[in-house]
Amino acid sequence: MADIKLTIDKQEISVPEGTTILKAAEKLGIKIPTLCYHEDLCISGSCRMCVVEIEGMRTLQASCAYPVAAGMVVHTNTTKVRNARTNILQLMLSEHYGDCYTCKKNMNCELQTLAGQYGIDVFKFGRPEKKVEKCTCGCDEHSEDNRHFGDCDAPIQFDRDKCILCERCVRSCTQFQDIGVLGKEGRSNETKITSFDDLPFDEVNCINCGQCANRCPTGALTERDDTDAVWKAIEDPKKHVVIQTAPAPRAGIGECFGLEPGNPLTFQMNTAIRNMGFDKVFDTNFTADLTIIEEGTELIIRLYKALVEKDATAKLPQFTSCSPGWIKYIEHFYPDMLDHLSSAKSPQQMFGAVIKTYYAKKFDIDPANIVSVALMPCTAKKFECDRPEMRDSGFKDVDYGLTTRELAKMIKEQGMDLPKLPKSDFDDPFGSATGSGVIFAATGGVMEAAIRTVYELVTGDKIESLFDKANIIAVRGFEGVKYAELPITKVGPVPEIVAHLVPNWDWLKGATLKVAIAHGTANAKKILEDIKAGGKFSECHFIEFMACPGGCLGGGGQPIPTSPEIRRKRAKAIYDEDMAYNVRKSHENPAVLELYTKFLTEGPCGHKSHELLHTSYTPRGKYIK
């Protein structure tokens, strides 16, 4: 497209046709204030903070929405513009219950920041009274200071009094994730963001992905805070409190301490967690590797049943099952496709089950006294660990799911500056992890880990013979839907770990393994619809789905803000960390292999595995009774 020449604040610039004034100004280093605008979302142009003056035009224009035109002369900071922005901010403050001290988003609130930048020193148009919204769960606790929309225990919490109607949440839910739980109701001053019929989040088909909360500029949408309960457990001398930490939070948590995205603090975080009083800190990567063995084995069984035994009940493609947002999505929107899901639990839940059985026994700890915490980049993990079926250890397998943001808050409460802490390692017996576990945090990571393992198990060759340094670039990156093929030109002997499952690999010789990857439920929907229509994805063998954009590193529990650029930096940190591991393949993880020799003695997908590491799903449908 042709370049357009225009003038912004007396500086000339040339930008491609279709560029907005906001983006053109950014190129000149001029930062126009925005609120409803978000890199990830379609343009709304509703808050009007970003208005600018264009010579020859009667009214100011929203720079986020207005495309440049040849010869246009733009002024981004005139008295007219400043007055408008100040008044607009004041109007927002007149509808925002701004009790900053008691707000979860204090110091991380875009409205607060703008009010500071524009020197707001009085409430020119007043400020709202505290409204009390009756809590639908019927509790008394959440009436005055802690007002809730919907169930007090729902993973996503909505405080409507803080909402300024920027609609980022609606666009996150409806356009970005293509779910459509959030919408608007009423008009004018009575407009409100709401679910269908104003029902609580746990009574609509919300998947708890938290993408709304991740983009909310104020404290209106947040996650349920479980930190108090965790502190209480830590202080209880009878309790043995362990935490597993997923790979994505360590790539992001530095952002909560002022670091640029992409600076992982894995080992500083271990120190912080110990200082806080946790008894043990484990690496979720251990069960990520375990997931690869279980899910990979399941795939082999499925392939064998479908291709050799012609068993119609073995549904292909097999879908991954690590992302709890994705699980709830398919349960709601494609309940007739649940047969495709791997029955393997997510790494979080596998770990929970192993801690309260294998670990408890090994160290002679009463599992009733173990409090199992999971640090996750995810708000849906809170829902997942509360699922009634997740009690295979005889106890609640995982007691609390903390988001990256919650842990950062706890670290600050402990008075620690995370980046400055010394490094320390994970605890045994789950200490050792592999690079394959780490890349679970990025879209395509589960697939890459699975390919590394399955290819080596089947062919007996090193994956490096096919992909330089075992980096399978074809499944990486942020393209919404990815597709790759892996020809199996030779087969080797069946390794011992799966020897009980198949007699030989001959049936796979000459086959081409077809895989696909989708991140974000909008992309998941594209693949699922294609499969329904019998398209190219119906011929896949294995498909990875993650509910969040970019995979877990873009999870709803990750630091705020998020953007494609921030997620790219987090991804780079993840892949760098993978490269730093000596062992980069799940089936070479010694701790995992030990688990199979000492505990899950029937091998992957054996009886005990099924009991502890696998689960079943609930067809929920679109309508909740």
Binding site: I43, G45, S46, C47, R48, M49, V51, T59, L60, A62, A65, Y66, P67, K80, N83, A84, N87, I88, L91, M92, S94, E95, K124, F125, I164, L165, K184, G186, R187, S188, N189, E190, T191
Partner: protein, 386 residues
């Protein structure tokens, strides 16, 4: 003695729609657009955009299909001229849509009617069928759901698409990206009626009336403190005084031009001409007699806007609420008067609403407030500080 429902003689009564369409058909696309452009016809919905120019833009859009949309969401308070046209001369309107369709190569017309006019549906469908006999042009009636903002063309299109009636960002304009993303020619009821009329009577006949910048005639719904309220046709450039004489509303202290979102003109300016370059016409005129409390008027208008703002953009959603609260304070004597700071603050807010709102609703809803508090400052009850 108030004579209600008065209707002056409308040119449309004598228009032979069939002849107008046949003439248009013979002229072809270019001929129609040349004729409309030569007439100087400007959009009758309020903004006054040159109709010929809009048609020209539409012909340049390479897309299929294109739509001709008639905006019959006549929701501006005090406006009922489209109702009169649709009741008595619907074929002139539907023929105008067919003429526009021929000019821009559109195969389909959509007639968007406000929910309150649905009682006319059968009558309109009959007229559409009758016109189709000679135009062959397909028109579908679609109904709004009662939101004033859907008279704004992009909100109207959103509503047509089954979405919440909220204005879009512009550009792109409907002529580029309208109904279902296709180029759409959206015009007011009266504009289409004049198109048929101009094709029948010729551009010159139209151009000869009115002023240089506002040629031709215009239909007005006139209401309020006058003895002969009703629907009138005046040539553009008629002065407010002349108009008041016609409706027997002499002695008025102000008139409201173009509905609640229009301009409030005080008696001292009654020699102004009703024309786009002077007192913009819109579709209605409200007369306020000497006994009328102008703050009541401002309150009434603002109550309307607080009710009808779509709630999307901040200045309109919250600004109207602030102005309404202020007027109520002024009425109650709780405001400190015309020359105090609070009025400065409100004028600054009104300016923000005018400059920074997303659509015409928020950009104009403070007009009456500003004009009334300026021209009728003596009616503000002073709280003391003055």
């Amino acid at each position: 003695m108030i004579e209600s429902n008065y209707v002056s003689e409308l040119t449309f009564a004598g228009v032979d729609s069939k002849a107008g369409f046949e003439k248009a058909k013979q002229s072809g696309s270019k001929g129609i657009i040349d004729e409309i452009t030569a007439s100087g016809l400007r959009g009758c919905g309020g903004a006054g955009f040159p109709t010929g120019l809009k048609l020209t833009f539409m012909t340049k859009e390479q897309a299929d299909p294109k739509y001709v949309i008639c905006n019959a969401d006549e929701g501006e308070p005090g406006t009922f001229k489209d109702r009169e046209i649709l009741t008595n001369h619907p074929e002139v309107v539907f023929t105008g849509m067919a003429i526009a369709g021929n000019a821009i190569s559109a195969q389909k017309g959509i007639f968007y009617i406000r929910a309150e006019y649905e009682y006319m549906k059968k009558h309109l469908e009959e007229a559409i069928a009758k016109c189709k006999e000679f135009t062959g042009f397909d028109i579908e009636i679609r109904s709004g759901a009662g939101a004033y903002v859907c008279g704004e063309e992009t909100a109207l299109i959103e509503s047509l698409e089954g979405k919440r009636g909220e204005p879009r960002n512009r550009p792109p304009f409907p002529i580029q990206n309208g109904y279902l993303g296709k180029p759409s020619e959206v015009n007011n009821v009266e504009t289409f009626a004049w198109m048929t009329t101009i094709m029948t009577k010729g551009a010159k006949w139209f151009k000869d009336a009115g002023t240089e910048q506002s040629p031709g005639y215009k239909i007005f719904s006139i209401s309020g403190d006058c003895n002969r309220p009703g629907v009138y046709e005046f040539p553009m450039g008629t002065t407010i005084n002349e108009m008041l004489k016609a409706v027997d509303g002499m002695g008025a202290k102000a008139v409201q031009m173009g509905g609640a979102s229009g301009q409030t003109v005080p008696a001292s300016q009654f020699d102004r001409k009703i024309a786009f370059e002077d007192a913009p016409p819109g579709g209605s005129i409200m007369v306020f007699g000497p006994k009328r409390n102008m703050l009541d008027v401002a309150e009434n208008f603002l109550e309307f806007f607080v009710e009808e703002s779509c709630g999307q953009c901040t200045p309109c959603r919250k600004g109207n609420v602030q102005l309404l609260e202020a007027v109520r304070k002024m009425k109650a004597g709780k405001c400190c008067g015309a020359d105090c700071e609070c009025l400065d603050k409100l004028y600054s807010l009104a300016e923000t609403m005018r400059l920074a709102s997303k659509c015409g609703l928020g950009q104009t809803s403070s007009n009456a407030f500003v004009a009334i508090t300026e021209h009728f400052a003596d009616e503000i009850k002073c709280g003391g500080k003055k």
